[in-house]
Every structure is written in structure tokens, then in C-alpha cells.
């Protein structure tokens, strides 16, 4: 997952030594000038609406960008334009060092979650016309910034893997008796929404508790576990084991039902509802002491 997502990043920002060398403060300034020129040009050319975006810039490896700042870009507006389109235009036309992850551009790969106008959103799924300008585009909060809009996703992936997100069996079945393991329609309906997660980390970034408590599994991982724990085909022992992971002190109990995750989820997964259901499951299980 992580390698797959890291790929576009290198594509976006080719580590061309010549280019890096050019990023001295003076060159940067000149570049800024170019940018303005181009902007004027484009404005004159299009003679129409432009979109004002303010993009977060930071790069620990470039002296002029070590101090975080916002760069302004004026991008020609087109009907149906998304936030991702606008930053791509800015990168392609104004500043090729502008760095962000993206891949499928259709809300499936989950690489381009940004903090847009104070809310976690998928760049490719957010219409410019729905936003107030200037549009402030920042990297996801609560994750360390690697460069510009690119954040370190390692912690998020660690939490996802911590819930052992796979369907498994206690014993390997006899090969001669292998049978299709079918899921009932009703059960599929139950877990349907939880399967839609695209690992974009918007929820984790929006969560107040995950921000303060690094060990908290977070909404995405718990939702992932929900998908398996609620699957009828999961064996009793495995489900028990899964619930034990979830009912750790830093598991489901840390959720304070602020609904932040549910509100930002680009795939509309009812995350809070799933976490609450798992809390009740865990309590029920623990109360069955007879």
C-alpha cells in the first residue's frame, strides 16, 4: 500500500539535482516573479474567471522553504474543476516543485486527501465551485509534513495493520474439503459501508483524540476491524481475538463520539456508528460471565 502510494510522489517531484540546485533563495524569488508573469499572462489569455488558491509550502531540504508559508496561485477556472485540478495546474504551469500525492483522480486510490478550507477533503472529489475563495490548501493535520502537501502516512498504516485486517482461519482447512465461503446478502449489506474505506487518512487527521493519543487505533482501523468482526464467516475465536484488540484501553473506548471522522469521510462511511456498535459488542461480550 505504502509503496504504491509513494510512487506518484516521486513522479510529482523528480529529484533532479539540477532542479534542486536552482532552489536557492534568489532563484526562488525569480521563480516567484515568473509565476506572477505567467499568472498575468494566463489571466489575459483566458480573460475569464480565475481561482485564487493559497497552497501550503514547506520543504526541510530547501533553505528557502524551511520556513512554512503559503503561496498564492491564480488558476483559470473551468466548469467541473476540482481542488486537485487546480493544484495540478499550478504545478504544471507555475511551479514544478509544488508537491502532492495523487493517482487515480476519481476518489478511489485515496492519495490526495488535503486540508481544504479547514476540512479534510479528497482533492479530486471537491468541486472548486463549492468552496469559498481564496481556497486554503494544507497538508493533513496531525501528520508530519514531508514536503508541501505530502504527509508521512507510516503511523496511519501501522494503526491499520494493528487490527490484523484480513479474513483468516484458525486452522488451514484440508485441501480436499475446500469449499466456497459464502456470505449472506443481509450480512453483506451490514458490512457494505465499512468496505468502502480507501485509506486516505482523512478521518484519523480530523480526530481530536487521535491527535492527543498516539496509541489510539483511530476510526479507519476500527472500521476495518468492524468489517471483519461483523462478517458472519469469521470464526468465533478469531472474532474474540479481534474484539480483544479493539477493546484495549487505546481501542474503541477512546472514541468520544465527536463525529468529526464521520463528517469528513469522503466515502460516507458511518464511522462513529461502527465504533459505537463495537463498543456495545465488547460490553455485551464482557457481561456474559455466566
Amino acid at each position: 500500500m505504502s509503496t504504491q502510494q509513494a510512487e506518484p510522489e516521486t513522479q510529482d517531484a523528480p529529484d533532479d539535482p539540477a532542479m534542486k540546485g536552482a532552489e536557492s533563495p534568489a532563484a526562488e524569488k525569480q521563480k516567484g516573479g515568473d509565476m506572477v508573469d505567467e499568472r498575468d499572462e494566463s489571466q489575459a489569455e483566458f480573460d475569464g474567471e480565475t481561482v485564487h488558491i493559497k497552497v501550503f509550502r514547506y520543504d526541510p531540504e530547501v533553505e528557502a522553504k524551511q520556513e512554512p508559508r503559503f503561496d498564492d496561485f491564480h488558476v483559470p477556472f473551468e466548469k467541473g474543476m476540482t481542488v486537485l485540478d487546480s493544484v495540478m495546474y499550478a504545478r504544471d504551469e507555475f511551479d514544478s516543485s509544488l508537491t502532492f500525492r495523487h493517482s487515480c483522480r476519481q476518489a478511489v486510490c485515496g492519495s490526495d486527501a488535503f486540508f481544504v478550507n479547514g476540512k479534510q477533503r479528497l482533492g479530486c472529489k471537491t468541486q472548486i465551485s463549492d468552496l469559498e475563495q481564496p481556497i486554503r490548501i494544507e497538508p493533513l493535520p496531525h501528520q508530519e509534513v514531508v514536503k508541501d502537501l505530502v504527509v508521512d502516512m507510516d503511523h496511519f498504516y501501522d494503526q491499520m495493520h494493528a487490527v490484523e485486517p484480513y479474513f483468516k482461519s484458525e486452522d488451514t482447512p484440508d485441501a480436499s474439503e475446500l469449499e466456497e465461503q459464502r456470505q449472506s446478502r443481509e450480512n453483506r449489506e451490514k458490512v457494505k459501508m465499512s468496505t468502502r474505506c480507501i485509506w486516505c487518512a482523512s478521518c484519523m487527521s480530523s480526530c481530536n483524540i487521535a491527535a492527543g493519543d498516539n496509541e489510539y487505533l483511530g476510526p479507519a482501523a476500527i472500521n476495518k476491524a468492524y468489517k471483519f468482526a461483523m462478517d458472519d464467516r469469521e470464526e468465533e475465536d478469531i472474532k474474540e481475538h479481534r474484539l480483544r484488540i479493539l477493546e484495549q484501553e487505546h481501542g474503541v473506548w477512546r472514541c468520544q463520539t465527536q463525529f468529526s471522522c464521520t463528517e469528513v469521510c469522503p466515502k460516507d462511511i458511518p464511522l462513529t456508528e461502527h465504533i459505537q456498535e463495537l463498543k456495545r459488542e465488547a460490553v455485551k461480550k464482557n457481561l456474559k460471565f455466566w
Binding site: H142, V145, T272
Partner: protein, 141 residues
């Protein structure tokens, strides 16, 4: 998530305009909770004056025992009355939002969680305002 530099956190109060209903509910619930547990400790301390009052039948009958005089002395202060109204508001909000949270825990009405938060705010305001006359009777300014 250690940050290599400070770019501000989402829950910084400088960004309060971006807070969602659920986040406000959480902040208020926690804040009122701190007040209520703090009050419980002071409440028991004040009521502990009854330990000094008990046994002195004459003072109790003439209502000059230390418990009665302490409580009535406090109640004669306008400030205390104001604080009591504040306490009522805090308690009512904590109760109403607490009911909301219990519903959320039972998985009831999750889609209306923001509306129920606004409802508990409005109800708290209404109940508090309606109680002001009762709380201010017999106090000199």
C-alpha cells in the same frame, strides 16, 4: 505525531470557527464536567460545617448553629446566587447533552446528533432564564 515545526493544530482555539457541532458538544461536556466535579468537592466541604453544628440543640432550635449561619450567610451574597445560576446552567447542559450521548451510545438517532446538540443548548438557555427569578428571590443587591 510529533511535528518538526508548529503549523498549528486543528483544535487550536484560533480555528474555533471551523469546529463542528460534535466537537463543540465534546468541549462543553468536558468543561461542564470539570466544573461539576469541582463543585461536588466544595459542596461537601461546605456541608461539612454540619459536623460542628450537630449536638448543639439550643443553637439548632434557634437556627444560630454554624451550619445554618454558614449556608444562609453564603446565600445572602449576590455573587453566590449568580454562581448558582451558572451552576444550574452547567448542570442542565451536562444532563441534556449526557442524554444525547447516551442515545449516541445506544446507536439511536446518530444522523441527528448535531441537531440534538443544538436542541440541548437552546433548552439549557431556556431553563436557565426561566429559573433566574427563583434563584434571585430574597437577596439584597
Amino acid at each position: 505525531m510529533s511535528q518538526s515545526y508548529n503549523r498549528g493544530l486543528v483544535e487550536d482555539f484560533g480555528r474555533w470557527k471551523e469546529f463542528s457541532a460534535g466537537m463543540w458538544a465534546w468541549i462543553f461536556h468536558k468543561f461542564t464536567g470539570w466544573i461539576l466535579i469541582g463543585y461536588l468537592f466544595t459542596h461537601i466541604s461546605v456541608l461539612s460545617t454540619s459536623l460542628g453544628a450537630a449536638g448543639n440543640e439550643a443553637a439548632i432550635m434557634s437556627e444560630t448553629d454554624v451550619y445554618t449561619t454558614t449556608l444562609q450567610g453564603l446565600e445572602s451574597l449576590f455573587l453566590i446566587r449568580l454562581l448558582e445560576i451558572g451552576l444550574l446552567a452547567v448542570a442542565v447542559f451536562h444532563i441534556l447533552n449526557g442524554l444525547r450521548l447516551l442515545m449516541v451510545d445506544l446507536g439511536i438517532g446518530l444522523e441527528a446528533q448535531d441537531k440534538s446538540f443544538y436542541a440541548s443548548l437552546i433548552l439549557t438557555g431556556a431553563i436557565t432564564v426561566a429559573s433566574v427569578p427563583t434563584f434571585l428571590t430574597g437577596v439584597g443587591l
